[in-house]
């Protein structure tokens, strides 16, 4: 490792590796550090990825990280009503279940090939400031405390989001904007290998249950709960265990792994940059509040931040003002959707099981080609005007 870089990227997930790749491609001397000993592990992810988002984020498809290709997605209400989104109607909303460890490694490889230096088992510990300016990072690399100088830091440190907080960017979340999640990889289960499934309602208050198939009899089966609703530590695991126990398709299920994690489901932050620092992906709280999907947003924001970082180095301007270019770029792609879906999530958290039944059977009846909040509201207006009042504030 050298003593000085133009750009240090903290975290080699999809956002960090993509940022490092574009920064290096733009000519910046770039260091990518990952605190874990293996890039891509341990996986903390449902591993679903929509095709349209892959295109939007310009992620090159590589068969090695595709576990299964989906034909569609199903949303299932507490009473068993099902709304199906299939590829013919909404190809871009449908996509892949991936192998996140291989995916992350493929993206890190692209960063390395672009010229970024990659160091694993290397954790950022604090930002070094001199005369009010950031001059580098304190790190621990494979047990050795070190200082590395830099001009720009890109925080891609995921949900834990330390870099942003050290730099003074407010990434704090309200409790109602936190999902607390647990997921098992289950094998020996009956699963439709071509459809992802989402179960709404009181089986997962303030969240939902997901089944993302990895192969013919194996799937990621997970659950998220709204943090403001949970009463006691361990609730997500208890809710998931209870749901699996009463699901006849899973009566012979065996666990291959167990993971947990936090998921931000907030409205877009006011700012994800300050002088010399940009945040990307989960660290910038860019997860889709409705779907919980964050991979593609991380890649997209990583790409934009990497490009802006390289340009900033060329121009010698690492100011918050210059980084507005990054803010504009990611916001023009994501902000409106994130805000709209946050509003929809706020509403969804309050719905009764009966309302979910009505809503999902209605969606099924209408069978719309293009699922969107506006289209849902139109259908409600037509078929269930009495429910429309509940959703007025979304208009």
């Amino acid at each position: 490792m050298d003593k000085e870089y133009d750009v240090i990227v903290v975290g080699a997930g999809p956002g960090g590796s993509t940022a490092a790749r574009y920064a290096a491609m733009g000519g910046a001397k770039t260091l990518l550090i990952e605190k874990r000993q293996e890039i891509g592990t341990h996986v903390r992810c449902g591993e679903g990825l929509a095709r349209g988002l892959l295109d939007q984020a310009k992620i090159p498809i590589d068969r090695t990280w595709i576990a299964a290709e989906m034909d569609g997605a199903r949303v299932i209400s507490p009473g068993g009503f099902t709304f199906e989104v299939d590829e013919a109607k909404a190809g871009n909303e449908v996509g892949y279940v991936i192998e996140r460890d291989l995916f992350d490694r493929a993206l890190a490889k692209l960063a390395g090939e672009a010229g970024a230096h990659i160091y694993i088992k290397t954790a950022a510990r604090s930002i070094i400031k001199e005369n009010g300016k950031i001059v580098g990072l304190k790190i621990i690399s494979q047990g050795e405390p070190m200082e590395v100088r830099c001009k720009i830091i890109i925080g891609a440190d995921g949900y834990e989001s330390q870099v942003g907080r050290w730099a003074g960017i407010d990434t704090n979340l309200a409790e109602s904007d936190i999902m607390t999640c647990v997921q098992y990889r289950l094998t020996n289960i009956e699963v439709d290998p071509k459809y992802t499934e989402f179960y709404a309602g009181s089986s997962a208050p303030g969240g939902y249950i997901w089944i993302f198939p990895k192969s013919a009899n194996t799937a990621n089966v997970g659950l998220g709960l709204g943090a403001h609703i949970v009463k006691e530590g361990g609730d997500p695991k208890r809710y998931l265990d209870a749901w699996i126990a009463k699901n006849p398709k899973m009566k012979n299920a065996q666990q291959l792994d167990m993971i947990a994690g936090g998921c931000s489901i907030n409205a877009p932050l006011d700012s994800v940059v300050c002088d010399q620092v940009m945040l990307v992906g989960d660290a910038a709280r860019m997860i889709d509040p409705m779907t919980g999907g964050g991979i593609a947003h991380a890649c997209l924001s990583g790409m934009e931040a990497g490009k802006v970082a390289a340009e900033a180095i060329k121009l010698g301007d690492y100011s918050k003002e210059f980084f507005q270019k990054y803010e504009k770029a990611w916001r023009s792609e994501l902000e409106e959707k994130l805000f709209r879906n946050w509003m929809a999530k706020e509403k969804a958290m309050t719905l009764s099981d009966e309302t979910f039944d009505t809503l999902i059977s209605l969606l099924d009846k209408v069978g719309m080609d293009n699922i969107s909040v506006i289209n849902i509201l139109k259908a409600l207006h037509e078929h269930h005007p009495e429910l429309l009042k509940e959703f007025e504030d979304l208009l």
Binding site: R44, L173, C181, V182, V230, K231, G262
Partner: protein, 57 residues
């Protein structure tokens, strides 16, 4: 400060990113709590696997 049950903790970082005081740090396989902890209890309550007990030393 909360007490971590290392036999239950999955090192997922949920408590770290959710702590309003940024008083928790995740080393690879261990949580560190610092003096900024205000005993709000959030991390213990929202831990997905019940690995944190509030109010240790």
């Amino acid at each position: 400060m909360p007490v971590e049950n290392v036999n239950k903790c999955l090192h997922c970082g949920l408590c770290v990113g959710s702590c309003p005081q940024n008083a928790i740090f995740l080393n690879e396989v261990r949580l560190d709590f610092n003096d900024d902890c205000i005993e709000c209890g959030l991390c213990s309550r929202i831990c997905p696997v019940g690995a944190l007990t509030p109010g240790g030393k």
